[in-house]
Structure formats: C-alpha cells, structure tokens
Amino acid sequence: MKSMSAIIFKDIVIEMRNKESITSMLMFGVLVLVVFQFAFETTNVERELLAPGTLWVAFSFAAILGLNRSLAMETDNDCLQGLLLAPISRGDLYLGKVASNFIFMMIAEVIVLPLFVVFNNLDFNVKLLEVAGIACLGTLGIASVGTILSTISANTRIKEVMLPVLQIPLTVPVVIASVEATREVLTGDTRGISSWLYVLAGFIIVYLTASYLVFEFAVEE
C-alpha cells in the first residue's frame, strides 16, 4: 500500500513538472470534439443522441495518448527495471500504475466535460455530475486494460502504434456501456441504465483481477 502511494505520488510530481501527459490528452480531446461538430451538423434533439458518442471517442483516444506517455516515462532510462528490482509485487506495481493513469485521465476529462456541454448546447445541471460519474467508471475500465496492454506493446518495435490495435477491440464493452449510459442520462430515459452500470462494474472487476494476476508475465524479461 505504501509503495503504491509512493508510485502515484512520484507520477504526480513528474507530471506537475513537465505537464506533458495532461496537456496532450486535453488538446486531443478538445480537437476531437471540434472535429465531430463539423462532421455532424444536427438539430438539438439529435444532438443528445449523438453527443455521448463523440464524447467517448474523444475520451478513448485521449486515453491512449495518456497511456503512451505514461509508458514512455517508465521506459526512459529503463526505469521500469528499477521498479522491478524493488520489493514490491508485480501486481501491486500494476495497481499503482493504474491508479496514476486513472488520475491523469480523469483530470483531463474533467476539463473537457464543461467544454463538451458548451459545444453541444446542453444544460449545466445535475446530469453533468451523473455523466462525470459514468466517466469515472468507463475511464477506470480503460485504464485497467490499457496499463497492462501498454506494457505489452512497449516490447514491440512500433510501441505506441501497437497500443490502440490491442486496446480498441478489448474496450468495446466499456465504450458501448459508457455511451449508452451517458445517452440515457442526457435524454432523461434511464430505464436501462442499471444494466450498463453493471457491465462497467463487471468489466472493471474482471480486468483488474486478471491483469493483477498476469502482470508479471507482461514485464518479465
């Protein structure tokens, strides 16, 4: 536990110093939202139906950027080896990295979200908190898979390009569930939302557990 918080703290200090991760995620997220505005010219009613999709495309791709940066930080100077030398279990190391990836993604998303509301002419009300809550779950799902996949893709020659290839098919359930849940919140028709939330929760539990158990295979030499 102490070592996990040491890892998270270290990542935060580094990020505060160079701000590379959050700014690139932020820029990318905003750009995606803007591009989608041009791609879909819609009326207000349709907007509520389409908007969740654009939001989650922005979040998914920004997440990939963030994961790549996080990994680059550990491969620089072979720092990952330094972590592997320490008396911390591979699984705990994994959880620490998931936590710091999650934190950075959430920070970027929390800034993108109000912009999303403005661009789509939605209202700033309680619904926004609910959307943020769904974003927490979805982001945790993406972070849990993405952290271990980025470690795997780091071993290939094409590193950063490999990550989306591996990650996007695997995060289909997270994206579907997050988009649908967000759509229900925005349109006000929340009859089916609990099943989506269960899907998200299930995904997180399954992937955190599975990755915790096999992470050592992903980092071994």
Partner: protein
C-alpha cells in the same frame, strides 16, 4: 495416418453437406433460396467461438507450463479463427447484398463476429512484431487471455445494445423447421466440424516443423 483419415472424412462429409444444402433441403417459404447460406453460416459462426475457447486453453496452458507447444496450439486456433470468421463475414456480405440489399448489417451476431475477428487479428499483429519465440509466446499469451475474457463481455454488451436499439435481424427464416432442414443443418455442422479438425491438425503439424526450422537456424547462427 490420422491426418489422412480426417482428410477423407472431411471430403466425404463436405460433399454430402453440399448436396443436402443445395438439392435436398426444401425451398424455404419466406426467403426462398437465400436461406441456404445459413446452413453454412451458423456452423461457421460457432467455429469462431470454438477457436476463441481453444485459444483460451492454449494461453492458460502456456502461462502455467511455459511449454511452447501450448503456444503453437493457441496460435493455430487463432489462425483458424481468423480464417473462418473472415470467410463468414465476407461471404455473408456478398450474399446479403444481392438478396436483401445492404452490404452490412450491424446486428448482434455480425458485430460480435467482427470484434472477435479484430481481436484475433490484433493477436497476430502483436506476434509479428515479437521476434524472440519465448517472449512472443509469453506476451501474446497475456494478450490472448485478456482478449478471450473479453468475449463474454462483448457478447453481453452487444446483445444489450441490440435489445435497446433493435434492427431488422437477418436470421434463419420464420416458417417452421421442416425435418429435412434440421437434417441438413446437422450434416453441415458435421462437415464444418471435420473441416476444422482437419485444418487444425494440419496447421499444428506445420507449426511444429516451422519451429524446428527456426531452432536449427538459431543453432547455426550461434556456431558462426
């Protein structure tokens, strides 16, 4: 020997099945001859999931024992998975267009198959960038494991999605199942099953030889 027997069985059963599909089974009342493709498609779809299951076995086997034979097993399952699913998706699309209209329908079955195909393809892409056999086996096993765990979750979420956003579903037609149809479907399943088993064994044998060649190459290089 085993391979020859399988080859003969496959050949015979495929001929029988083809005969039954095209000549024996009656014309379906609602969709006419278009229906016949389902005799092939349903078994093909199942092989996709069978491949996923076999890959899962392979990766678990490898992660537990470190023996490369499990890696070969899993890789063969994935290869057949890509082949059979891609064949199904492409023939399905080609068939659907002249008969029903659209090139592609995002119903649950096709979407699931497409995502599974993408996972298999990603598996191979990962492997192609990992030259060392041990590392390749290990890392693709981890990805394979995570990918195959995803399959039931994909199933769940895509089905949920389609229940909430129904689309016209293209499926085996409505007019009741005549006994000849059931028989044809069974014959088709058997034929596809034999084809799968034959190809699986053949490919596994080839993979083993390939690995031996690689090993000899390494030994030669080391002695230079």
């Amino acid at each position: 020997m085993k391979l020859k027997v399988l080859a003969i069985l496959t050949f015979v059963s495929m001929l029988t099945a083809l005969y039954m599909i095209f000549l024996y089974a009656p014309r379906e009342t609602l969709q006419g001859d278009a229906m016949r493709i389902f005799y092939i498609h349903v078994p093909l779809a199942i092989t996709g999931y069978v491949s996923a299951f076999l890959l899962f076995i392979g990766v678990v086997g490898f992660l537990r024992t470190g023996d490369l034979k499990w890696d070969r097993f899993g890789e063969t399952a994935a290869a057949l998975g890509v082949a059979f699913i891609s064949a199904q998706l492409i023939t399905g699309s080609l068939w659907a267009r002249p008969i029903w209209g659209p090139w592609w329908v995002w119903d649950s079955r096709t979407t699931l198959q497409l995502v599974l195909d993408l996972i298999f393809i990603a598996y191979f892409m990962l492997r192609s960038y990992l030259p060392d056999p041990q590392k390749r086996a290990k890392l693709s096993a981890v990805f394979g494991l995570l990918g195959m765990i995803d399959v039931p979750m994909n199933y769940l979420s895509i089905y949920l999605f389609r229940t909430q956003h129904p689309q016209p579903v293209i499926s085996p037609g409505g007019g009741g199942v005549a006994p000849e149809m059931a028989l044809t479907m069974t014959a088709s399943f058997i034929a596809v099953g034999f084809l799968y088993a034959y190809l699986f064994n053949r490919r596994l044998a080839i993979a083993k030889v390939e690995e031996e060649v690689d090993y000899l190459e390494q030994v030669m290089l080391a002695h230079e």
